[in-house]
Symmetry: C2
Subunit: 358 residues, 2 copies
């Protein structure tokens, strides 16, 4: 690591801090005679979840996503403790101060000084020709891109189900978002068949989309993001937010067309920027999804009438060469030409968390 110029001392220190924070949480629980099983990423599985009355993730937002990914029971609380406040925003975790005074959080839970929060999650159905319903776990395998594609191919040959075309409910629930896009690898065995596909780090994704059972629309873009209220703060927010700089230029142009009667000052620009960006966020408990098309390509062939919006259901037909559906950045499914995904929220899939009273 040091040879690479990485900050080894920094990494070691953050590990030390994390370890100390984990010990604090575990000790606080055991002091209350609560039975605790401390498991690492690789040992965390559905048997452990079944054993537990509640699950506490100790890490950052990524760890919370992983913890949630194995909980399918809407009455099993999952609570996040941010043990890495320097690096993680902790959107999905308890406020940072409980990291160092976890007994305070426990007392609030005992006294009922909290309310339950149900974070809605997205479910996925897959159907069509030549589909592959086997998930590839991106965290555990830490695959290179080529191995990632090979893993999908190997699983395909083992999975008989893919011949039955009826919609398959995939064994995952997205807490943040589902992202659909080209995987960016080019497969060796198809080398000679791909004269028109340029290998690059940015390949456009080609698909058809139908929102709320509306008409199908062909799209070409850098990918499609469908998020929950929880995820509206995450990647979706970064895709859709508009910079103060851009709002200022837009309002300048509106003024030029005689449309602005107020002076165009920083205060107005700031208000409009804040309001606009805030309109991208919504409650994790609302059973609605927000879809957004990333960098839509608009030309003679491809239109993009609706590039973003709320919806109850999104259907996507892949016209991609080598694409994936990625759930919470952690689990991916092959999504190539012939596959059709249906994306929606079912409140039975919600994740139970707590909001402590302040």
């Amino acid at each position: 690591l040091a040879l690479k110029g990485s900050n080894y001392a920094g990494l070691l220190e953050r590990h030390r801090i994390h370890t100390k924070n984990v010990e604090h949480v575990v000790d606080s629980l055991r002091n209350e005679r609560i039975e605790v099983r401390l498991v690492k990423r690789r040992e965390y599985n559905e048997e452990t979840v079944r054993w537990a009355d509640a699950v506490i993730s100790a890490g950052g937002d990524g760890t919370m996503l992983l913890a949630a990914s194995k909980v399918f029971d809407k009455f099993k609380p999952v609570i996040g403790v941010n043990t890495d406040p320097e690096r993680s925003e902790g959107h999905l975790c308890l406020p940072v101060r409980y990291t160092h005074s976890f007994p305070e959080a426990l007392q609030k839970l005992y006294r009922g000084e909290f309310r339950w929060q149900w974070r809605q999650r997205i479910r996925l159905y897959l159907e069509g020709t030549g589909i592959n319903t086997t998930p590839v776990d991106l965290h555990e395998q830490q695959l290179s891109q080529e191995q990632h594609s090979r893993a999908h191919i190997n699983e395909r040959f083992q999975d008989q189900k893919s011949d039955i075309s009826g919609p398959h409910l995939l064994p995952v629930r997205a807490l943040n978002e589902v992202f659909i896009g080209e995987s960016l690898s080019s497969r060796e065995n198809f080398k000679s068949c791909k004269p028109s596909f340029k290998f690059s780090l940015h390949r456009a994704s080609y698909y058809e989309i139908s929102v709320d059972d509306g008409p199908w629309e062909k799209q070409k873009s850098s990918g499609l993001n469908v998020c929950t209220g929880t995820g509206s703060k995450a990647w979706s927010y970064n895709i859709n937010k508009v910079a103060h700089q851009a709002i200022e230029e837009i309002l300048k142009i509106a003024k030029k067309h005689g449309g602005l009667n107020m002076p165009l000052n920083t205060e107005l620009v700031q208000k409009v920027t804040n309001d606009y960006n805030e309109s991208l966020l919504y409650s994790p408990e609302e059973p609605k999804m927000f879809f957004s098309v990333r960098e839509p390509i608009v030309n003679r062939v491809f239109s993009s009438n609706r590039q973003r919006g709320f919806s109850s259901k999104v259907c996507v037909r892949s016209r991609c060469w080598d694409a994936c559906m990625v759930v919470d950045g952690g689990t991916s499914f092959e999504f190539n030409d012939g596959a059709i995904a249906s994306i929606l929220i079912d409140t039975e899939d919600s994740l139970c968390t707590v909001l402590l009273e302040e």
Copy 2:
């Protein structure tokens, strides 16, 4: 291909059309007693370019980028003929009608009914610790992501120059853009050392940027795009354009704050949208670059004061794990922690093309 559900008949037809169009151009030239060497992608090299008085690319915009990539002489004209008008926009090519009546284009050239156009291009300097100045040609090698990373590593061990830290001028000139971002692969040999990096199809890029020798700013984003006037119509445009839908929402908010005195009708929204998006485009002949940060992450640590703008010089210090600088989607250079890139336009690097009179 057919097994994959691809449109084999369609691909074959487009190949037939392309071949016919190429024959038309070659015949038109030979009818004028012009000596023509017809070369395919793999045979196109600097010796062929040296032999030629002019280069004609027959394909789409991608083929034009490839043709330009081996021309470093600003007095050697490169002309593009769009042989695939169904699929390629042909921004870099002659108007589509000359594809079927190339003699008409030749006549205009003979009669001087054209003007020279010099498309400015970007040059790159690389310096710092552990740098690798060997380009990886993404088109010719059609590598999988893993092979791509390995190619970089293998070249590294062979390249002695990387120990000398002075700025190296890279042997490429960007006609569209330079894109800097994480490569999205995770290397096997570093598997155990990367506890904090999640493998996913979307990994944020971390770097520092200085514009026009200004102060260094840390940024985390989905990548940095620095384009030419030519490239301002390409990927840069898709990154930065704002949808009618978004402009409408922004103006609605401005109106709510009492800022709009005109009725907010479709006409105003359309005007503002068109003006704004047009402001992203500029002449290929202007010796200035346009940089844009893709999906900047703004939080406690990372700011993003200027997310886009014109500049004469952009310097970037990589803090990335496994990133690349990609030129015109075709050539990539390793760009990891320790490397510093200087990006600028030198008019000596311009590409000579023609604009026919209409």
